[in-house]
């Protein structure tokens, strides 16, 4: 299977392995590509890799990691990168991504996507590490904006100024998570459209959509609900602003039957088509 990513995708989850194996021809009409969580397949063997190999034959794929800790301050974990490279060589993804965050320090891993301080010093730190990782892997990486629940006193700029500067200085690309922008905009009280407006369009290679848990005064990024109306509106705005960018739905908990996600993916497709600027073709 060639690996050209365009259109609309889903995150591959174990709950849907059987569907993708049994019905790949029909599913190819409704899912253009799949994203896999890298760490789930950075294992010695057995069922995960077997399933991955089978499904990869029928679908273009991208890889999405959760533990690179690009913003961490311990030296880059070369052993992790080596394992990542083995998986890259196995499935030849169109691109790989991880998160603009740190996950732990002092040899520990909190297994969370922890926010960076938006400072000049953090920018310099990230630019240096992104360069190391891209050099080791021999390819450009995408980083995803994360949801956050705290604002550092140390911050010197907004998250969108920080990200725009990072993309320009490091040369890496962005996996724009529209849900995360919305979650953070409610938690921190900013206008999410200002975030979208500040992002350099040429660096946005992929978009994530997801559901969350709304607690009124704050929102938790849980990926356990369908995409909500406010995020659909923000996605429509994003498409008007950025044009056609490959977009997918992430669902990590309370995972429904695949058909429900396919219907939701049709809504992504419809929303994008209705909002694409006329001069831009299909994603």
């Amino acid at each position: 299977m060639q690996n050209i990513i365009s259109g609309y995708g889903l995150g591959l989850r174990t709950e849907h392995y059987a569907d993708f194996l049994a019905d790949s021809e029909r599913l190819r009409q409704r899912v253009d590509w799949l994203e896999v969580i890298s760490e789930n397949y950075m294992v010695p063997g057995g069922k995960p890799l077997y399933m991955l190999d089978q499904i990869r034959r029928d679908f273009p794929m991208v890889m999405h990691g959760v533990s690179l800790s690009i913003g961490g301050t311990a030296p880059i974990d070369v052993e992790y990168l080596r394992h990542l490279k083995v998986l890259i060589e196995r499935i030849e993804p169109a691109w790989i991504s991880d998160h603009l965050c740190w996950t732990g320090t002092d040899g520990l891993n909190l297994h969370d996507l922890l926010p960076m301080p938006y400072t000049e010093r953090a920018l310099r730190h990230l630019v240096e590490r992104i360069s190391q990782v891209q050099e080791f892997l021999g390819r450009k990486i995408l980083l995803e904006n994360v949801s956050s629940y705290v604002t550092y006193r140390a911050d010197e700029m907004s998250e969108w100024e920080f990200i725009a500067a990072l993309l320009q200085r490091s040369g890496c690309d962005l996996l724009l998570d529209v849900n995360n922008i919305y979650v953070s905009s409610v938690n921190h009280g900013f206008n999410p459209q200002h975030f979208i407006d500040a992002i350099p369009a040429t660096h946005v290679r992929q978009i994530h959509l997801a559901g969350h848990e709304n607690h009124g005064s704050y929102i938790i990024d849980t990926h356990d609900h369908p995409v909500c109306d406010a995020v659909w509106d923000l996605y429509a705005y994003t498409v008007r602003r950025l044009g056609a960018v490959p977009t997918m739905i992430e669902r990590d908990d309370n995972i429904p039957p695949l058909n429900e996600l396919l219907d939701e993916l049709d809504t992504v497709r419809r929303t994008a088509m209705q909002n694409l600027p006329l001069q831009v073709g299909h994603a």
Binding site: K47, L49, G71, T73, L108, H111, D112, R121, A122
Partner: protein
């Protein structure tokens, strides 16, 4: 301007200690909920969920409350050092042995070993397995010096309790009421055949023979191990018994394809 490393040390220390006001954040201490406390809670919840994934039957046996107590104690004492959360919980059996009061019955420690071994078998390395026709190609004079290699998923657990019945009962019905297990020192074989994880309790002869394979001993040496067994424990002569064990191992997919003789 604080160095990034200092800020991260303080952040992580506060998550581990459950300190809601580490002095890093705007509006710190003003949020009733929905700020830094979300990181503190999510950390514990995520690691506890990983332990439940890795120890599914122990979780069923203990129930939510007791499992959560065990998980909290473990998370407190042994924070994760792994890149992937898949490996979190590797020290749980050792931790239980050091803190036996965390379990209502000592047999549940064996259940923890079994869960972890099955989880390890699930994604252990692949290897081509040895088939009957591969053995048929061995010349009679080569047999005594033949050495075999076990599939990478094979694990031999030394257990003290007969936990098979609890495992079966809880897998069939998560709410099953189970009998207290009997004390029984034995070896449990855990492995993966094709994509399916399997286990069975071993008789002494088979356990000793498999241990000999692990030590890299030859077929002749395996026969010697069997010959040294108390005759009460074995019914057939050693070479017949070794042949029948080999046949069982072949049909179970326990042996790796032979790459070269001797």
């Amino acid at each position: 301007m604080k160095p990034v490393a200092t800020l991260q040390d303080v952040f992580q220390g506060a998550v581990l200690a459950g300190d809601r006001a580490p002095g890093l954040f705007v509006r710190e201490g003003l949020n009733e909920i929905g700020g830094f406390d979300l990181y503190i809670n999510a950390y514990r919840a995520r690691l506890a969920a990983a332990l439940k994934d890795n120890y599914p039957v122990l979780h069923l046996a203990l129930g939510d409350d007791l499992f959560d107590q065990l998980a909290s104690a473990y998370i407190e004492q042994r924070p994760s050092r792994y890149r992937s959360i898949r490996w979190f919980g590797d020290g749980l059996r050792e931790f239980i042995d050091q803190n036996p009061e965390l379990l209502p019955h000592p047999a549940l420690a064996d259940l923890a070993s079994m869960d972890w071994a099955l989880r390890a078998a699930f994604d252990a390395a692949n290897a081509d397995v040895c088939r009957t026709e591969d053995l048929a190609a061995i010349l009679p004079q080569d047999w005594p010096l033949m050495r075999f290699t076990l599939h990478p998923s094979v694990n031999l657990l030394e257990l003290n309790w007969r936990i098979g019945p609890i495992w079966h009962a809880l897998n069939q019905d998560a709410d099953a009421v189970t009998e207290q297990p009997d004390a029984l020192d034995h070896t449990l074989l855990v492995w993966r055949q094709e994509l399916e994880c399997k286990w069975r309790s071993l008789e002494i002869a088979e356990a000793l023979a498999l241990r000999a394979v692990v030590r890299g001993e030859s077929f002749a040496e395996i026969c010697e191990v069997l010959a040294a067994l108390d005759s009460d424990l074995t019914e057939s002569d050693p070479s017949m018994l070794a042949a029948s064990l080999l046949s069982q191992w072949l049909s179970d997919g326990l042996l790796v394809k032979l790459t070269a003789f001797i």
